[in-house]
């Protein structure tokens, strides 16, 4: 992260660092100096939204209101929101099985996400996808993916399309530490580097691929160590610190928009919940989980906002209250949604009906 060049972004409130650099106090790192209070509040709101959305989803799951499986990203919200907060609607993301945060970060609404979980026609995928395929192409989210590493080639291709259409958008690819051992990682990063594509690969390294720790699955300590194989920058950030994440992302995004090619960002983070519901956490210790819980990204962000005097506690409380209301409304909206009818099982397989 040599130099940070922030460009003013109407959609996001990030401001040009050239204008702002002069104002940097000792507590004012670029993220806080260059992000408008409105954008900071929006980021905080989204982090809470992700958290409360997942808590409610978990609860619904336990109560038997949804079926299937569900992967919670509780503890990883700083990475999801820090990466997406500076993106435009026309930028793309590809997401993972642990994708609720990415989806909300990119602009989805909780109510349609809930509707999807309840298998309703109002859901983002009209009830066909569920949690593992949650998507919102409207806001540039090309979808969660049930295939580990499945989004890597897709994001690479979206970036290729951007380049061929001479747009200055970017494609962002979320994936996990486990996914980095898939061949798709290697092929995709090599293609993007050779073709100088506008793509940012974001590894959310939460230390485990299901039950297998990175030191048992990876031959190097960091996923970012592999960036050198593709002649692209590899950046490691504290994934529980939204400022760290967002600053690295600005650099990567601008590099991509300038046509200088891809970047690999590794967010070191942790999922405090099990991999999915069948997980009995036999592969890690309680202490480890507790240590990470103490580094919860949401209070961490709130503390920085308070310390720097950007917000008062009352502002934060208001954010939380509004998110709570949004969650409740969304849940109710979804519960009373429309069930699909069996006859529609083959609808939307093809764009044009076939014989």
């Amino acid at each position: 992260m040599a130099t940070l060049v922030f460009i003013f972004e109407i959609e996001t409130g990030l401001m040009n660092s050239a204008l702002k650099k002069a104002n940097l106090g000792k507590n004012q790192r670029p993220f806080y100096a260059n992000t408008s209070p409105a954008a900071l509040k929006e980021a905080l709101r989204k982090m809470h939204l992700v958290r409360m959305f997942e808590e409610m989803a978990e609860d619904s799951y336990i109560r038997g209101l949804t079926h299937g499986t569900m992967h919670l990203s509780i503890g990883q919200e700083a990475s999801a929101v820090g990466i997406t907060m500076g993106l435009r609607k026309t930028d793309y993301i590809t997401s993972t099985h642990r994708g609720h945060g990415h989806c909300i970060g990119k602009g989805a609404e909780a109510k349609y996400m809930f509707a999807e979980f309840f298998g309703k026609e109002e859901g983002y995928c009209k009830g066909r996808g569920g949690s593992m395929h949650i998507a919102d192409p409207e806001t540039g989210n090309l979808g969660a993916n049930g295939i580990v590493g499945g989004g890597l080639p897709l994001a690479t291709g979206a970036a290729l399309a951007i380049k061929q259409q001479k747009r200055d958008d970017v494609a962002v690819c979320f994936f996990g530490d486990g996914a980095s051992n898939e061949g798709a990682f290697h092929e995709s990063l090599n293609l993007a580097a050779v073709w100088k594509l506008p793509v940012v690969y974001v590894c959310e390294n939460n230390g485990y691929g299901m039950s297998v720790s990175t030191d048992r699955s990876m031959s190097v300590p960091n996923v970012a160590d592999r960036a050198s194989s593709y002649n692209m920058p590899g950046v490691i950030v504290d994934g529980n610190n939204i400022a760290d994440v967002a600053e690295a992302m600005v650099v990567a995004t601008e590099r991509a928009r300038r046509g200088e090619g891809p970047t690999l960002i590794e967010c070191k983070t942790y999922r405090t919940r099990g991999h999915s519901r069948s997980d009995r956490n036999k592969y890690r210790t309680k202490e480890e989980i507790e240590e990470w819980k103490a580094r919860d990204p949401i209070p961490l962000f709130e503390k920085e906002l308070l310390d720097m005097g950007i917000f008062k506690q009352a502002d934060i409380d208001a954010v939380q209250a509004s998110v709570k209301a949004e969650i409740e409304d969304g849940f109710n909206f979804a519960r009373s949604g429309t069930d699909p009818v069996p006859e529609d099982v083959t609808r939307d397989v093809y764009a044009r009906e076939i014989a």
């Binding site: 499986t69 593992m132 299901m210």
Partner: protein
């Protein structure tokens, strides 16, 4: 005999095989301390150690190929795909290497590898975790493809697969893992390539495999009350297929229904139908050959739609009734 679940029966087969033969080892994602996504390997890592119950990185192509390479080099690997859907990443090694290596090398090597393939819908896991892809593999000479329906067969066929000198894929329907049944103790083999008449009847032959055997048996029970006698043939093996047993049954009942969960088009029922239609049994047929297969769609998430996407007992009953009564 004691009752075991399907998953326990598979576990016991693995245990017995690993006890008996040092060359046998298991690899897969989260099969060690996690015990496997469906609990099949369970505690085996504690008994046999991490060198023989190997958690792998998430790398389906590499691990499948490593299993093939190890088999050629004298070991007896068993690879668990966490979901058989992920085999899409490993088709190259399964189809272009494992299946063809012996042939391409003039019969000079054996490839004794087993791929365990949890499959099927019904768990709400949607399009990428619910497929029934056995037809792909059954289309490939050099592979063997089995699909047991009972705990006893699961154990006996997995043992047969492990001892087989050729590559074998065992499809394990996820909804079967919890069903229970009598399972003989100790070592025994259920031969690959032999179907089993699970229920005798004179009015119509149903050919099915895995979970569809259970649905067909349920349907048969219901139809029995109406005076319709259904014969249920449990395929057990998709490649090779036991054509003789099917033909004998059809000659007796004069009607055939193929019931399968995989997508209808080019699913296993297509082959059963064609096998009978080209055989001596053709002349015995008193009705068109019925196929009930999966919908022409990916498996949807909504439980309502998910049910609609694969044959259910109601639909089977109705279709068989119509077939027997000539109302097709």
């Amino acid at each position: 005999m004691r009752e075991l679940s399907f998953a326990q029966a598979l576990h016991e087969a693995l245990d017995i095989a690993m006890e008996a033969d040092e060359r046998v080892f298991i690899m897969g994602e989260d099969i060690g301390v996690y015990g496997g996504a469906f609990g099949v390997t369970g505690d085996l890592v504690h008994k046999f150690g991490e060198d023989r119950v190997m958690d792998t990185p998430i790398a389906e192509l590499g691990t499948a190929g490593a299993a093939v390479g190890a088999a050629v080099a004298g070991s007896r690997p068993i690879l668990e795909f966490q979901f058989s859907d992920f085999s899409g990443l490993a088709m190259e090694q399964i189809v272009n290497q494992a299946a063809k290596m012996r042939y391409m090398l003039g019969g000079k090597v054996n490839v004794p590898v087993v791929f365990r393939m949890p499959c099927g819908s019904g768990t709400g896991a949607a399009a990428q975790h619910s497929q029934s892809l056995e037809a792909w593999f059954a289309h490939v000479p050099g592979l063997k493809v089995i699909e047991p329906s009972t705990p006893a067969d699961a154990k006996g066929m997995l043992l047969a697969a492990i001892e087989d000198p050729d590559p074998v894929l065992i499809f394990e329907h996820k909804l079967l893992y919890k069903i229970k049944g009598d399972v003989p103790e100790g070592h025994y083999l259920t031969p690959i390539g032999k179907a089993h008449v699970a229920r005798e009847g004179r009015d119509v032959t149903v050919v099915a495999a895995a979970i569809m055997v259970h649905k067909a048996l349920e349907a048969a029970e219901i139809l029995q009350a109406e005076g319709i006698e259904v014969e249920v043939v449990d395929l057990r093996s998709i490649r090779p297929i036991d054509t003789a047993t099917i033909i004998a049954s059809v000659k007796k009942t004069t009607r055939l229904a193929c019931i399968y969960e995989g997508v209808k088009t080019l699913g296993i029922g297509a082959e059963i139908s064609a096998l009978v239609a080209e055989s001596e049994a053709f002349d015995y047929l008193d009705a068109p050959i019925l196929r009930l297969g999966g919908a022409e769609s990916p498996i949807p998430y909504s439980p309502i739609l998910e049910k609609a996407a694969v044959p259910q007992v109601d639909g089977i009953v109705e279709a068989l009734r119509n077939l027997v009564k000539g109302r097709i």
